[in-house]
Symmetry: C2
Subunit: 321 residues, 2 copies
């Protein structure tokens, strides 16, 4: 796909991935509504296969590649969820997946990628090491690179979560999603801006990895140099495709402290009784910190994933370490 | 209600409580299905208001009491979920709730009961202390006692969870529920045996609190003397009403080790991404231990609740204490 996805492309993606993905529920919770004074609708992609929305984009990418491009497999670098998603999508299509992972990735994420049958190559935890290692893997195997977010097929696939959300709750005033590389936020923005133009789309970003916020201010991509946040799924910086869409289609990026992210995560576990990873708690963290006034609004929130190491919960870190 | 509830009574209870309770989702998880070789349907009462099925029974009891009996409030003793449930049900009806709680109750449960506006009286953690303290509270206030489980209105209310489950998934071969005092299991047995007589009902009980198992063997109530299990919601013993129903209507009680309960709880958190309390993991623990052969069956499991202290997860206990 060479052009930016339109609503018909996203609908087509939804049909393409339907046999493989889970239609995730939209949950509500009065307790959380009361805390922030708004009406919240959580699209639970933590219940998605592989535990994250990433499976939508990966499935769309793998199943829209022509046979000749996938026959020698697909490859990517990923600290976790995209790697697992690509691995399962490739297995579903019957082709090989090669995943380059930093040695420092969470154990649960390494096991997931391996469990779906991908061939893992470990590397140092830097972008340069990832890219160099991936180049070698591709040279050796002839696999096709599927970028974690800066790819229109990935972006279109991620946009299907908002499509389902709006089908179920059409009258949302705001839709919020976390932003790391921007695949989820840009896909969400495409869907929402075309299907429900009056609905605001707001990106939520950790203060310690605020490249999207700064890029929006400056009008050009400002990559994160040394991002540091508990939201380990949001360390990457925007790509040119995701930035262009986000710049054009979203209302605002709001940043949030790690403290509020951890507090938000804990409230979601305690009140909603669902397991979400820190990155998924970032939008609710923004609401808790009340940096923008959304009082009384009907707000859709995309819960991005639920892959978290149950031995190392952030609110236990002082007593455990 | 002086007679054991019939299916029409349970349907009436469902109508009575409908404006107050949440219709909880039925979730599935391929990962867990694979682990035990069966097809599982989880009725998620951890998402119920107050975080447990108990709110169904308490609401049914409070709203079926005649005005003259509730005007001076309702009272109970409870280590947690029933107390919170009664407190919220009473608030919904606009009457006072008095809850006697052992000092040793989990902090999260004390806060919940207080948060719903009940007046708490703390006592020593023995059944005698609970009953003595409750008698004093009732004498002083004139409140009406609502037993946590040995009450037909409570039992009928708990039976509405299975009613919703069977409406959504009618062709279940087995329905499983945990058993403590037996309110949930007996209500489930009433609903399932009348609505779907070919479906087996199986009770799941911790080895360290196996009074229901032993009572079924002996044909009379054998109370637990010093129950000890991680499943802190299942420490109570059967009552005469719950025992009579269970004895007549259920297929089998199966016990399970605390190790398997903790393993089951962790798998449910990790794979399904939902927060469940240890008691709620007991039926899946039975399947993990494979003490009975249910391979290939379509099994409904009632997830009883999700109120757990997030500072004290059982799989972290060695490193935390």
């Amino acid at each position: 796909m060479l052009n930016c996805p339109t609503l018909p492309d996203i609908r087509e993606a939804a049909e393409r991935i339907k046999p493989y993905i889970k239609r995730t529920p939209v949950l509500t919770c009065e307790g959380l509504d009361c805390m922030v004074g708004a009406r919240l609708f959580f699209k639970c992609e933590n219940f998605q296969k592989v535990g994250a929305f990433k499976f939508r984009g990966a499935t769309n990418a793998v199943f829209s590649l022509p046979e000749i491009e996938v026959v020698r497999g697909v490859a990517t670098h990923s600290s976790g969820n995209h790697g697992a998603a690509l691995a399962l999508a490739a297995r579903n299509r019957g082709v090989k997946a090669y995943v380059v992972m930093p040695r420092t990735s969470a154990k649960i994420k390494k096991e997931a990628v391996a469990g779906y049958g991908a061939e893992i190559t470990f590397c140092e935890p830097t972008l340069q090491a990832r890219e160099r290692t991936l180049a070698k893997v591709i040279e050796k195997t002839g696999a096709t690179f599927v970028h974690p977010y800066n790819d229109y097929r990935i972006i279109g696939g991620q946009g299907t979560a908002a499509l389902e959300l709006l089908e179920e709750v059409p009258d949302l005033e705001v839709v919020m999603a976390p932003v790391g590389g921007g695949g989820l936020l840009s896909g969400t923005a495409l869907t929402v801006s075309e299907l429900s133009p009056q609905t605001l789309v707001i990106g939520a970003e950790p203060e310690g990895a605020d490249d999207a916020y700064r890029s929006m201010q400056e009008g050009r991509i400002i990559p994160s140099i040394h991002p540091h946040t508990v939201a380990d799924g949001l360390l990457t910086s925007l790509g040119e495709y995701t930035f262009a869409i986000i710049r054009e289609r979203i209302h605002q990026i709001v940043t949030v402290s790690d403290e509020a992210i951890i507090e938000a995560m804990r409230h979601i576990w305690e009140r909603m009784k669902i397991v979400v990873e820190p990155s998924a708690a970032v939008p609710f963290g923004v609401l808790l910190e009340r940096k923008i006034d959304l009082a009384g609004k009907r707000i859709g929130i995309i819960i991005s994933g639920g892959n978290v190491d149950l031995e190392r919960l952030p609110w236990l870190s002082t007593s455990n370490e």
